[in-house]
Amino acid sequence: MNIIETKNLHKTYKESEIEVHAVRGVDLSFEQGEFTAIVGPSGSGKTTLLNMIGGLDKPTEGEIIIDGINISTLKGSKLIDFRLRKIGFVFQAYNLIPVLTAKENVEFIMNLQKRPKKERIKRAEDLLKAVGLGDRMNARPSKLSGGQQQRVAVARALASKPMFILADEPTANLDSESTRNLLEIMETLNKEENITFIFSTHDTRVVNKARRIITIDDGKVLSDEKK
């Protein structure tokens, strides 16, 4: 069964008189357990597409159906709540809340879900251990490297037990060592726990790990290959 479907998705940005057609008719569907890369040159519409799928941005035209729900019908705090329950996010940079420690950042999302304290602490610790940060749990983001911060972000995205995780260029700011490390963690989670990952990237090493590669250019899907 498809967990995500986009139907004839369009996004047009209008800045003063100039219209930018960032996404122009995208029909895609994603299944549980995918490990999918969205690739394409800069400005091709990857971020725009992921933001719309994540319910952060509204399409100008078309529909997004997640878990059977057309998310355009969700407004305001309903949409925020939907994101909280269904979607995990990893952004390119500035992922974490600066005043919170690694563990608190992971707990934060379970806090929003009003999970009991004991469960929150245990799960946060387990997840941070799983991403290899068992010894940095009480460090604040400013004391962590970029790669460590992205691993905390992955742990946080997982904490809410989402249907899928969207990651927009999660490795763009990382060195190759950290990139390999983060990717290994994502792959393991995908294989062992059947977590669905959809990520955009420029990086060929990242692309090579993907089991499905969607290439977009100029707001349209050029190719969609499964390995």
Partner: protein
């Protein structure tokens, strides 16, 4: 975790932000408290001066005396009444006086004067009159003699040991006339009084005016000027309103009251300007601190924090910062105004002399009245709440996609 706890943690963890924002509120409180304390303290000092050097906080007269200050409008001395008033817990002193006009003469010179019959001890207790003697001696209970105000004495060209002649109209149209040795010369701060006052023993005055046992006023000094209204009511309950009038210093000296009120209005205007300046300071700081956290707020709403919850956290943060600023503002300003209220700052030079010529002690005094501090707190709380509108609307409008874009 509750919004309040999250807010508390944010305040504790981001020290720089906390210090800057609380400091802006601190300055608002600090300046407002010092400024207002100085204003109110100076008024209180003026009132205290006038009240303790002459009028008292409250006076009791025979009904009609204030409109027609003739010797016939006097009332018989009544030790019972004096005692019951003295027993009112807020009352500090009760001073009896008999006051009337007289022509004062020495050799060829004559001038209109006001003769005040006093009980030397009681009078000195309240007005420290003995300290104002610049030559000769203060009156004692038994001596027959007078104290003459400096300017009156120099007009009449008389000195200590000379004999002054007082002439006027006595009770029920009797003639009042008497010769008195000058015991001392006194200097009164208020020029008006320094020109025409003659102090004499109460019993002598009663003899002079053929008004045995009569008084024109009981002046009452209170421990605290805040109690004027309640004490006035308490006194009014104890006397017969057919026979007596009870007046506060405000009714006795409406010009002073007006002068203070108009000065107070300009003071409040200054205060309003101060509040506007510090209000913009607080607002600007909060705006800066909000914009600085754009990405943090973006992340929070992106991953699923409801805006209303975020607004709640920011509300508590602002409130806590407000409390922190207010407390620290008071922590610093309170000891200062407490200190200066005990030892007022003297004013020297021309300004000091102007103060003196109006009969006021030349000092900048400070008030520690809790009422005005509560007012300051309320104003600052309102400023902080107004400033909160900015982060609130910022949160409600925030778009996570835009907030997260580099």
């Amino acid at each position: 975790m509750s919004s309040f706890k999250i807010a508390r943690r944010n305040i504790r963890r981001n020290k720089r932000r906390t210090v800057i924002t609380a400091a802006s509120i601190f300055f608002a409180v600090f300046f407002a408290v010092i400024m207002r304390s100085m204003q109110l303290g100076t008024y209180t000092e003026m009132i205290k001066n006038v009240v303790s050097s002459y009028t008292g906080h409250i006076q009791i007269h025979k009904k009609g005396y204030w409109n027609d200050k003739i010797i016939n409008n006097t009332f018989p001395e009544n030790t019972e009444l004096e005692k019951t008033i003295a027993k009112i817990p807020e009352v500090e002193k009760v001073v009896p006086r008999l006051e009337s006009f007289a022509l004062a003469s020495f050799r060829q010179l004559t001038k209109g004067s006001i003769v005040i019959g006093i009980s030397p001890e009681k009078e000195n207790n309240m007005t420290k009159l003995a300290d104002k003697v610049i030559s000769g001696n203060y009156l004692s209970k038994t001596n027959k003699g007078v104290l003459v105000a400096e300017k009156l004495a120099s007009f009449l060209k008389l000195g200590v040991g000379d004999t002054i002649v007082l002439m006027g109209q006595g009770y029920h149209a009797a003639t009042a006339a008497g010769k008195y040795p000058v015991k001392g010369i006194i200097r009164l701060n208020a020029p008006d009084l320094n020109n025409k006052i003659v102090y004499i023993n109460l019993s002598e005055a009663q003899d002079l005016y053929s008004a045995p046992n009569m008084l024109s006023s009981l002046s009452i000094l209170l421990k605290n000027s805040d109690d004027i209204k309640s004490v006035k009511t308490a006194i009014s309950d104890k006397i017969n309103p057919e026979n007596f009038e009870v007046m506060t210093w405000e009714e006795i000296l409406p010009e002073l009251k007006q002068a203070i009120e108009s000065d107070n209005i300009s003071g409040q205007f200054m205060l309003a300007i101060l509040y506007m300046i510090v209000g913009f300071g607080v607002f600007g700081t909060i705006v800066m601190m909000t914009v600085e956290r754009k990405k943090e707020f973006g992340i929070m709403t992106a991953v699923g924090m409801k805006k209303i919850k975020l607004a709640g956290i920011l509300f508590y943060e602002t409130l806590l910062l407000g409390i922190l600023g207010i407390l620290s503002g008071f922590a610093v300003s309170l000891p200062l105004i407490l200190y200066f209220s005990k030892s007022p700052v003297p004013i020297t030079g021309d300004v000091g002399n102007t103060f003196k010529s109006f009969g006021f002690e030349p000092v900048i005094a400070f008030s520690v009245n809790p009422h005005f501090m509560i007012n300051q707190i309320s104003v600052v709380v309102v400023i902080v709440l107004i400033a909160y509108i900015y982060p609130l609307s910022y949160i409600l409008k925030i778009n996570p996609v835009k907030a997260l874009r580099n």
